[in-house]
């Protein structure tokens, strides 16, 4: 029984990890960021490259990936998204384009492969990130097998969620972000620098994606297409949880992860996936604005 709960918890934490960044960029800023999965992918590649070329392990890769994906997110916001606020369908298309460009950049090794230069760790192939040995050795505690790596993901996810909550609800910056979420015009009228705050918020959400990428790299294959499947799950969680609601996102990730885990064990993963989608459809019909929502822009 504890095994089932643990697997569900682990699935939930992975969902939450991806959805956390998305709930900020989509929830707070109304941008359907299709490139979110690619920011996850960039985070994973940062970990792979840091391992190969700098000899840095997972723990150093985490902050590095946060900075890399965060800066990339800032760049995307500055160059593209800031011109598209309020045009939700346009952001979808534009960020999808960004996603394709990012995938190809990694696949073509930033164009270097045209000149016959090969950077180890890039390219269209499969990469892997080394996980420190003590994180792969399971520990038996009173008959329950504790998996250190999955536990590590759960802990990091909790810490990041806590940090995000603190930033959003306990800092002046967070108050400004929440004000913009409610109504950007009035927020601007009250003297909030909407552009600056939006850019920083977007960068923070992107940075979270990078961290998610590093943690996913520990048990998934790292490849240019890895972000595509991740982003769908992220959107599911955000939409079910309620746009812009941190609590809703956490709760939705918890529910969907547990359902997935339990059904997968009782029958199989394919049916589990179908059940999850059925639950999502049901929840959206029941509460079109998500589990928790408030009137926003």
């Amino acid at each position: 029984m504890s095994d089932i709960i643990f697997i569900g918890l682990s699935l939930s934490s992975i969902l939450l990890l991806v959805a956390l960044g998305l709930s900020i960029t989509y929830g707070a800023m109304g941008v359907i960021n299709m490139a979110h999965g690619e920011l996850v992918m960039i985070g994973a590649y940062t970990a792979v490259l840091a391992g190969i070329h700098l000899g840095l392990n997972l723990f150093f890769a985490l902050p590095l990936a946060f900075v890399t994906s965060g800066l990339l997110g800032l760049l995307i916001e500055r160059v593209l998204i800031r011109r598209l606020y309020g045009r939700i369908i346009d952001t979808l298309l534009a960020t999808w384009g960004v996603a394709i460009v990012l995938q190809q950049l990694v696949r073509l090794e930033f164009g270097l492969s045209f000149f016959g230069i090969h950077v180890e760790g890039l390219g269209s192939g499969l990469q892997n990130m080394a996980v420190p040995a003590f994180l792969t050795q399971p520990v038996d505690i009173a008959g329950f097998t504790l998996q250190p790596y999955r536990s590590f993901i759960i802990v990091v996810t909790l810490l990041l969620t806590g940090l995000t909550w603190w930033l959003m609800y306990r800092t002046p910056m967070g108050a400004q972000v929440r004000a913009i979420m409610r109504n950007p015009q009035i927020a601007a009228a009250c003297g909030i620098d909407v552009r600056r705050v939006s850019a920083l918020t977007f960068a923070y959400g992107s940075g979270l994606a990078g961290v998610a990428g590093v943690l996913l790299a520990g048990f998934k294959t790292v490849m240019p297409e890895m972000g595509a499947s991740v982003v769908v799950d992220g959107f599911l969680v955000v939409v079910v949880g309620g746009v812009g609601s941190l609590l809703g996102t956490v709760l939705a990730a918890g529910i969907l992860g547990q359902i997935n885990g339990v059904v997968a064990l009782l029958s199989n993963d394919i049916i589990a996936r179908a059940v999850v989608f059925a639950v999502v459809i049901g929840l959206i019909l029941w509460r079109p604005r998500g589990l928790f929502s408030f009137k926003s822009r």
């Binding site: 699935l11 269209s124 499969l126 050795q137 399971p138 097998t145 294959t221 993963d269």
Partner: protein, 416 residues
């Protein structure tokens, strides 16, 4: 009936095309005297490019070697390279381009069954030859394809008895990706497991590309099996082996015995996750012969990567070009019909050993081998047959060496 219809189609297309194009139709591929054009069709872009690029490289290497040694009957081989872009529909379009516009008689290509099935109608309709280098699920009998990879009996007829008798494991958990190859492999496995006194306690599938293995590995753990037979394909393999270790399962107690995990997947997951597990293939990079060592060295030099790995489909991609060359030399002609006749019974000393093309079903005799993976990402060959065994593409449906379903005259559908 089938053959008749096919002949009819062939004649009518030939008539129609000849009416339009005049006499140049069958002379096409030998256009400039002293040159033979052949097609190469693999995915150079997209998700499958990592593996298919290596197959294209091995094919090109064989062609370069043959050309450097004087060509075929004094003629130089000129390859025309096309990109299937990891998409069966693109494969079909590119195959049509090679066969119809370039009028090629022979094309080397395909890694997935999906892409082979997509190009098959083109080659059958235009009566050209396709050389397919990958291990696959069998259940196909085309006189327009020469199959040089393993079929299920060449990967499993040694593997299952060995697991039961030598490893002493009797309870199988069969797991695979959800498409035709793993399902056909499971079918053959079950027949063999029951024949040899073992039992299978589960037969489970996950989507191709699925990477969340928590629930499945937990199920394996609870099932009470003592061996896992894996037909998992592609990047899922990596997630599977990693989760297996993370949940505390070890290959010395509960080994994964795999039919798809090759040197490429081992390198991608990190060898420490596969140490002690087993794979069955006719070729491993670790085959300890001078011929294979020289082959690996030439390949690494050719792709300019001192760490490049070789694997089963890559080796088949290489030696099938030589089989084709010998067939052309024997037939003295490059037309598909002549090469098909010429290649029947053709023998070549490949890096894995002697390979022979079966005169009936155009599949290849290969030597089954089992390897155990080590910490360096290489296998140690711990069991091998003394000689190559006959390919039986319909073994799951009761085909035996004395009762062939697929013959030179076509598939005997009454036996299915």
């Amino acid at each position: 009936m089938k053959t008749n219809r096919r002949n009819f189609l062939k004649q009518s297309t030939a008539f129609g095309a000849a009416a339009a194009l005049g006499p140049s139709l069958y002379a096409g591929a030998a256009r400039a005297s002293g040159e033979i054009e052949v097609g190469i069709l693999f995915s150079l872009t997209g998700g499958l490019s990592i593996i298919e690029k290596s197959l294209a490289d091995a094919t090109m290497m064989a062609i370069d070697e043959i050309n450097a040694a004087g060509g075929v009957n004094g003629m130089t081989i000129k390859p025309i390279l096309e990109d299937g872009a990891s998409d069966p529909k693109t494969f079909n379009e590119k195959a049509s381009k090679l066969v119809i516009r370039d009028r090629l008689q022979t094309v080397f290509g395909s890694y997935t069954s999906a892409s082979r099935k997509a190009v098959l109608p083109v080659f059958e309709k235009r009566n050209s030859l396709y050389f397919y280098p990958t291990y696959y699920e069998g259940f196909e009998c085309s006189k327009n394809v020469v199959y040089t990879g393993a079929v299920p009996n060449q990967q499993l007829s040694n593997f299952i008895p060995w697991i039961i008798n030598t490893l002493g494991k009797k309870k199988f958990f069969i797991v695979g990706s959800n498409y035709i190859y793993p399902r056909e492999m499971a079918k053959v496995s079950k027949i063999l497991i029951e024949q040899h006194g073992g039992e299978w306690i589960a037969d489970e599938y996950l989507e191709l590309g699925h990477s969340e293995w928590g629930a499945m590995v937990s199920k394996i753990k609870e099932s009470g099996c003592d061996v896992v037979l894996s037909n998992v394909v592609g990047d899922s393999v990596v997630a599977f082996y990693r989760e297996f270790k993370n949940q505390g399962l070890t290959h010395d107690k509960l080994p994964i015995c795999a039919t798809v995990t090759s040197e490429i997947e081992i390198a991608a997951m990190g060898p420490e996750f596969a140490v002690g597990s087993y794979t069955s293939f006719p070729y491993f990079q670790a085959i300890d012969t001078d011929r294979n060592r020289a082959f690996i060295e030439r390949y690494r030099k050719y792709v300019n990567d001192p760490n490049a790995v070789t694997h089963h489909a890559l080796e088949s991609s290489y030696f099938q070009v030589y089989l084709w060359k010998q067939a052309v030399e024997k037939a003295g002609d490059i037309s598909a019909d002549a090469v098909r006749e010429g290649i029947k019974g053709q023998v070549f000393e490949a890096p894995n050993g002697t390979v022979t093309v079966d005169p009936e079903n155009l599949h290849t005799y290969l030597t089954p081998r089992i390897a155990q993976w080590g910490a360096d990402g290489q296998g140690t060959i711990i069991d091998e047959y003394k000689e190559p065994i006959e390919p039986l593409p319909y073994v799951a449906y009761g085909e035996t060496p004395d009762n062939l379903f697929c013959k030179g005259t076509g598939l005997d559908t009454a036996k299915l």
